[in-house]
């Protein structure tokens, strides 16, 4: 039989310490929390701003929008609306997540106010192979055009990944995306993320009445 007294005797240090450490962490967290939140928001804002350069402010349009991902998973994301000078909605932006070559890829994707054209995307975080997959965010010195540039102004519909194409094909803004040579998986991942989110976001925006129901 274990006696309470015995238990206290043996373990008081651990109990006291865990309590104290719990408090310590909580205090630290409480004092730093605001800053951390601000940091994260700033980063997101900056990225969104760089995509939708006309925007003055970003506000949450849909909280925790649910996106059914591949293999039955559900991803949730906040959709922000970008407000222009006049306070009108000039675009939407959201964080999109998908599986990359090595790890998850997080993108910030921006579409215009009618959800017809993309403003493009920025990489929030990725862990792609340096030199290959990391080209989705870096400039490729080999080719004359950026992979990400292909999305700028592209129509918000299903993308198709193709492997080779002349410069004109890359430069041409359409739903054909030319893969980065040697980093097909990463390119594919980006295209898949776009395809996964576009329709669902548009649907949800429609439901909320934030955009018209397509003409």
């Amino acid at each position: 039989m274990l006696k309470i007294k015995h238990f206290i005797q043996e373990s008081w240090l651990l109990i006291v310490a865990s309590f104290a450490f719990g408090l310590l962490i909580a205090v630290a967290s409480a004092s730093l929390d605001a800053r951390i939140k601000q940091n994260e928001k700033d980063k997101l804002d900056n990225l969104m701003k760089s995509l939708i350069s006309d925007a003055n402010d970003f506000q949450i349009a849909i909280e925790q929008a649910e996106i059914p991902g591949d293999r039955g998973r559900v991803e949730t994301t906040d959709v922000y609306k970008a407000l222009g000078e006049d306070g009108g909605v000039i675009g939407f932006a959201f964080v999109a997540v998908g599986a990359g070559f090595a790890d998850k890829i997080k993108l910030v994707i921006a579409v215009d106010g009618k959800c017809e054209k993309f403003f493009g995307f920025k990489v929030l975080s990725s862990n792609e192979t340096p030199g290959f997959g990391s080209k989705i965010k870096d400039d490729d010195p080999e080719s004359d055009v950026d992979f990400a540039d292909q999305f700028k102004g592209a129509p918000a519909q299903e993308f198709e990944l193709i492997k080779t194409g002349k410069l004109e094909v890359i430069k041409k803004i359409d739903s054909q995306i030319v893969a980065i040579s040697g980093a097909t998986v990463s390119s594919d991942a980006v295209v898949k993320i776009f395809n996964m989110y576009t329709d669902k976001i548009r649907e949800q925006l429609r439901q909320k009445g934030l955009i018209g129901d397509g003409k």
């Binding site: 240090l13 310490a17 340096p130």
Partner: protein, 213 residues
């Protein structure tokens, strides 16, 4: 060597220096290999990592040293890890608050400081047996030794993998970066060769135990 007229100062000095070379945690004690390999693709994260480790090491050594007489055997390890985890959490929060990019680069390797063998080993080997001052000095020595090692390794890898150090180009333009050095391969092989070099400096008599023909 300890100066005989000033035994305590000598001891402190020796404890401090031990961590730098003679008992360098990476080269000699082979501790804390995971961050050594994982965060040394570039100097900057390596340095950040090193600083975090110093912070956690010093703090946890202080706490462990203070409560060393109250420890019960079956809860000893638990207490150590608890202490370490607390300070790692705090360090992590600080990084997130004041160096967001770095925090993202290091990713899960910051919380993994908790299981960095250096810290728990120092807690076990030094702090739970020694007084406050010695523990702190030991922590500083070990931490600085660890950081320096990390930085050296990171510098080699960063130069070869990107041609840059601290994101400043140091190699001529004609240099084509060796991407592999930034990958796991580079980490393992560079560290392996460095360990070999360090072993070479050991003046241990190489005794071959095989029957040669």
């Amino acid at each position: 060597m300890a100066n005989e007229s000033q035994p305590t100062t000598g001891l402190y000095k020796e404890t401090l220096l031990a961590g730098l070379w003679r008992e360098n945690p990476v080269f000699r004690l082979l501790l804390g290999m995971c961050p050594t390999l994982a965060v040394t693709a570039a100097v900057k994260p390596a340095l950040t990592m090193g600083l975090c480790v110093i912070f956690v090491l010093v703090c946890s050594n202080i706490i462990v040293s203070l409560m060393r007489n109250l420890l019960k055997p079956h809860l000893r390890i638990l207490m150590f890890t608890l202490t370490i985890a607390t300070f790692v959490t705090i360090a992590d929060l600080f990084l997130k608050a004041f160096a967001l990019t770095m925090s993202e680069t290091l990713g899960p390797y910051v919380p993994l400081i908790i299981v960095n063998c250096i810290i728990i080993c120092r807690a076990e080997a030094c702090a739970s047996k020694n007084g406050l001052i010695v523990s702190v000095i030991d922590a500083l020595g070990m931490g600085v030794g660890f950081t320096l090692t990390l930085c050296v390794l990171a510098a080699i890898r960063e130069v070869l993998a990107t041609g840059m150090i601290f994101e400043v180009q140091v190699m001529p333009d004609a240099f084509v970066p060796w991407a592999a050095m930034g990958m796991p391969v580079g980490a393992f092989i560079t560290l392996g060769l460095m360990l070999g070099l360090v072993n070479l400096t050991n003046k241990k008599k190489a005794k071959s135990s095989c029957h040669e023909v």
